[in-house]
């Protein structure tokens, strides 16, 4: 058991965008791994089509989610119903002030009681905000590899820069290093996802009920 989960914490639109993210991650990871090395025959065209489609979905979803962050109101405390602009939950809040270190200590078993905080604790804020540059990095490196866009100077500049790092300053505009960075970005996103799934479920599955099925738990409505 943990605290209550209210619909005000996660409006229906977030349930949809969270589902979209999940599907996109799964399809992008599986198709990407297949494109990286087609371990069994038969699916390259399908894998590339899938990868392409879900890449656009993920990007559009990211934009939509950011716009919602600046327009929708959500509750500011875990289990609460009092709302404020959603984006504030991802920025420093009075509720989280001075709580970064206690939160770290709590997760390192150096502190017994759960630290006070806003809807998200300090570490969650960092992690969630980090997903935005991570997705953008995946998209940038992906476009740098994708035929129709790879020669755009915006992407070519990155390709050359990455190749230069990999080769002590003499990389040229070769795509291989970019391919590797794109691949590593997937592992970075996967690592985030492992941690996210672990922490979301460590006290029980109530968070899943609100995020996936929009079912409140621990409240009068439940």
């Amino acid at each position: 058991m943990s605290h209550a989960y209210t619909r005000e914490m996660h409006p229906l639109a977030f349930v949809v965008s969270h589902w979209t993210n999940l599907c996109a991650m799964v399809f992008l990871t599986l198709s990407g791994l297949y494109i990286h090395y087609p371990i069994f025959p038969g699916f390259m065209g399908a894998a590339r089509g899938t990868h392409n489609f879900w890449m656009f979905v993920l990007l559009i979803n990211l934009v939509v989610r950011l716009v919602m962050g600046f327009t929708l109101k959500t509750s500011k405390l875990a289990g609460g119903r009092e709302k404020e602009l959603d984006i504030k939950n991802f920025l420093p809040q009075a509720e989280n002030r001075h709580q970064l270190w206690p939160t770290i200590k709590y997760y390192l078993f150096l502190k017994k009681e759960h630290p006070l905080g806003g809807k998200y604790n300090s570490l969650q804020k960092f992690a969630y905000v980090l997903t935005v540059p991570l997705i953008l990095l995946a998209a940038y490196t992906g476009f740098a590899l994708w035929g129709p866009t790879s020669q755009w100077s915006f992407f070519l500049a990155g390709t050359t820069m990455v190749a230069n790092w990999f080769n002590g300053g003499v990389g040229g505009a070769a795509l291989m290093p970019m391919r590797i960075v794109h691949y590593w970005t997937m592992w970075a996103i996967l690592s985030f996802t492992f941690i996210h799934v672990y922490l979301a479920n460590i006290y029980g599955f109530d968070a899943d009920r609100i995020m996936f099925a929009w079912k409140e738990t621990g409240t009068d409505h439940a």
């Binding site: 087609p38 009681e113 690592s191 492992f194």
Partner: protein, 391 residues
């Protein structure tokens, strides 16, 4: 038939080339230069009127390399149409094949350029070796850099043939003790502004040299400056190096269908399936090898059963080796494919470490009774408690 026409027809006949072959050849040159079919007669007549009547001064300089590009050019000495074009170059200096030796040879080099200032063409093969103050490669008792220092500012243009001349090629592959680099990089360092046309691949394809000679000299695009607009950011002719090998590969259908060769000697290989899983670098290499092909358009790497090893890429050895693998190894900063770690192993290791750390953490959570059971929340922040404040 006018006298010149007859003379040209005889030239062709002497090479065993028909008029039809010649026009077809002009068509493929036009395609490489991005000219429409309607320009084919213009090219044909430019070649015709130049052939046998006009000689353009040229020198072929060898830097640090294996002379493979010279070998590749030798393919064009088989009686064929390309030689008709190449014969209009008065190649006054070419180490590998010229008769002259010693001081006479070097004099020919300097005289050709000095007596034709701003007009001669320099074809440069091989890397520019800067190591040990240029002593990594000595020519005629001097560091070979001297040739570029002295003559590069005086030629009309340099055609850098082969990957070595473009960016150092395999010679530059780590550890690169000779400090090899490409012609355009070296000229940039020295502030020399002579235009450089880069024609990578290892070795260079003679057809591209022919196309450039037609473009630069016969169509006068160097004089008019039009050639510069046809080069990409890396100084390569866009029409030759603007598409990936993968885009034009005859095995592309197998790629899309997911029909791959996983092992040499397998039935899949016999069926001519796509070589992607064998490390083919076609998807990340931009040249028109599948269209122009090699050895008088006989065949090319993939057609003859080998994955493309990406020799038209920049820094192609470091970026492409191991050639039969999907990814190179990584040793950040060193530029060496020797040693280092495999990106796949590194990625999976990071993911594995994160998963293992979470596993250990979960054991801790269970041991402290937190698993499935969130501890009570503090009723006042630690910070506030230390300050002695009330809640």
């Amino acid at each position: 038939m006018a006298y010149e026409d007859r003379a040209f027809a005889e030239q062709l006949a002497a090479r065993g080339v028909t008029r039809r072959d010649f026009v077809k050849f002009c068509g493929s040159v036009a395609a490489m230069l991005g000219l429409s079919e309607s320009m084919v007669p213009t090219i044909a007549s430019a070649v015709e009127s130049a052939a046998g009547s006009k000689l353009y001064p040229a020198v072929w300089v060898n830097g640090g390399a294996c002379t493979g590009c010279t070998e590749s050019m030798a393919q064009a000495t088989y009686p064929d149409v390309a030689t008709v074009v190449l014969d209009i170059l008065s190649m006054n200096y070419m180490e590998t094949v010229m008769m002259a030796m010693g001081a006479d040879a070097e004099k020919a080099l300097y005289d050709t350029v000095n007596n034709n200032e701003g007009k001669a063409i320099m074809i440069y093969e091989g890397s520019v070796m800067k190591g040990w103050d240029g002593n990594a490669l000595r020519v005629a008792g001097e560091p070979s850099l001297k040739i570029l220092d002295d003559l590069a500012p005086k030629v009309a243009a340099i055609i850098a043939v082969g990957s070595c001349a473009v960016d150092g090629g395999w010679v530059k592959a780590g550890p690169n003790t000779a400090d090899a680099t490409g012609v355009s990089m070296y000229l940039a360092e020295k502030g020399i502004k002579t235009p450089v046309i880069n024609l990578p691949t290892c070795p260079v394809n003679p057809e591209w040299i022919v196309a450039m000679v037609v473009d630069v000299l016969l169509l006068g695009e160097l004089e008019s400056g039009a050639i510069l607009g046809k080069l990409d950011a890396q100084g390569r002719p866009k029409l030759i190096f603007g598409q990936t090998i993968h885009d034009n590969c005859p095995r592309r259908g197998h790629f899309e269908n997911g029909e791959f060769v996983y092992q040499f000697g397998s039935p899949e290989e016999a069926k001519g399936y796509c070589l992607y899983a064998m490390g083919c670098k076609g998807p990340q290499t931009q040249t028109n090898c599948p269209i122009v092909r090699w050895n008088n358009q006989t065949s090319w790497c993939v057609e003859s059963g080998s994955p493309c090893i990406g020799c038209g890429n920049f820094n192609w050895v470091d970026n492409g080796a191991p050639f039969l693998g999907r990814m190179r190894k990584v040793a950040i900063g060193s530029g060496s494919h020797n040693g280092g770690f495999a990106p796949g192993v590194a990625g999976a290791a990071v993911g594995g470490v994160v998963a293992a750390a979470l596993g250990v953490h979960a054991i801790g959570m269970a041991a402290t009774g937190r698993l499935g059971n969130m501890p009570d929340t503090e009723d006042v922040k630690e910070h506030d408690r230390k300050k002695g404040g009330d809640k």
